[in-house]
Subunit: 200 residues, 2 copies
């Protein structure tokens, strides 16, 4: 039996969107079980002196990222647009995703949140937007949002973010597979292969 | 006839090493003519406030880069080690490569310089190391080094670096194909495909 792979993703991250939308069929084909781990990059960026996305700090890199994501998304048949403002505050989305993962609809909700944000350019920091996305899945938006504000969920997100930092994670998406760190949508296939080689 | 592709590379760059060692057969298979364009990232990094490699500025990213390059190189059957200090001063290597490109042995010399630096960990900033690499190719190390210090070559390198900056290049390796910028060893295949689609 192959070892599971941890998928650390950040809702403000454009490349996490691309990975979130393509990981499921690739993992299934590899026989790898993926643990979806929403976390926050903000505290990690802050620790290295950044107060916003590197794509804002370095405009040439930011312009390139948009075009790169457009090309990657076009190959996958996905739309791509940046929400305003970029990056979005992803705190609520991460907490809501943790609730939904406990309740068994976290992966599908994560994909829907990413599509709302980066295919439609919607403001995912707004509670009413988030509630609408959850309701559209046939789940209870109001109840999910209420649980997202409990200490249990807040603590869980903080712990995940601290774990990511301890693991040496500095960007998103990141994968832990076979005891090693892999960074970026471009390393998804390599990470799955490493998980496939690793045994329980 | 497909349009040529520009390959901008920096001798201090680990990922440029990986690309330089694998680009030739892929380009040949695609029918794409590659223009090798050595340039300097230093002035571009300086313009965005960096005084050294981002892999030194952000240690977690630096540690990851070493492991990532080890894995990429292992897949290609290449050795990988960081030279001391990292990054190497790449000014002499870039000038020497420009001379060699004029004389028809620039691609092979570039590969040899990268192998000396990142497979053997040698100090490519040292003129005697560089002369030895050129001599080992059956060329005249002393004469090549002398031409590398002429105003014509110095001006050519400065012009290439300024052109890279105008093109929006912020890292290495970078490719210009079909009028678009592609960044990173991970985009080599995509850039070649874009060049293939573009016609003269």
């Amino acid at each position: 039996m192959v070892a599971p792979m941890d998928f650390f993703y950040e809702f403000a991250s454009t490349y996490s969107y691309v990975t979130a939308l393509r990981i499921a069929p690739l993992a299934a084909a590899s026989g790898v079980t993926v643990r979806w781990r929403p976390f926050l990059l903000g505290p990690i960026f802050k620790a290295q002196g950044w107060d916003t996305s590197p794509f804002n700090l370095y405009p040439a890199k930011g312009r390139y990222m948009v075009r790169d994501c457009e090309r990657l998304c076009a190959e996958l048949g996905l739309a791509f647009r940046l929400p305003e403002p970029f990056p979005q505050n992803s705190l609520l989305a991460a907490r809501v995703a943790l609730v939904a993962l406990e309740d068994g609809f976290g992966e599908e909700l994560s994909r829907r949140i990413y599509l709302a944000e980066f295919a439609e350019g919607r403001a995912i920091a707004a509670p009413e937007v988030m509630a609408g996305i959850i309701d559209a899945l046939g789940r209870d938006g109001a109840a999910t949002l209420a649980r997202a504000q409990t200490d249990q969920i807040k603590t869980k997100l903080r712990a995940t973010t601290e774990e990511a930092q301890r693991l040496g994670i500095f960007g998103a998406p990141s994968f832990i597979a076979g005891g090693e760190l892999f960074w970026g949508n471009d390393r998804l296939e390599q990470a799955l292969a490493a998980a496939q080689r690793a045994e329980h």
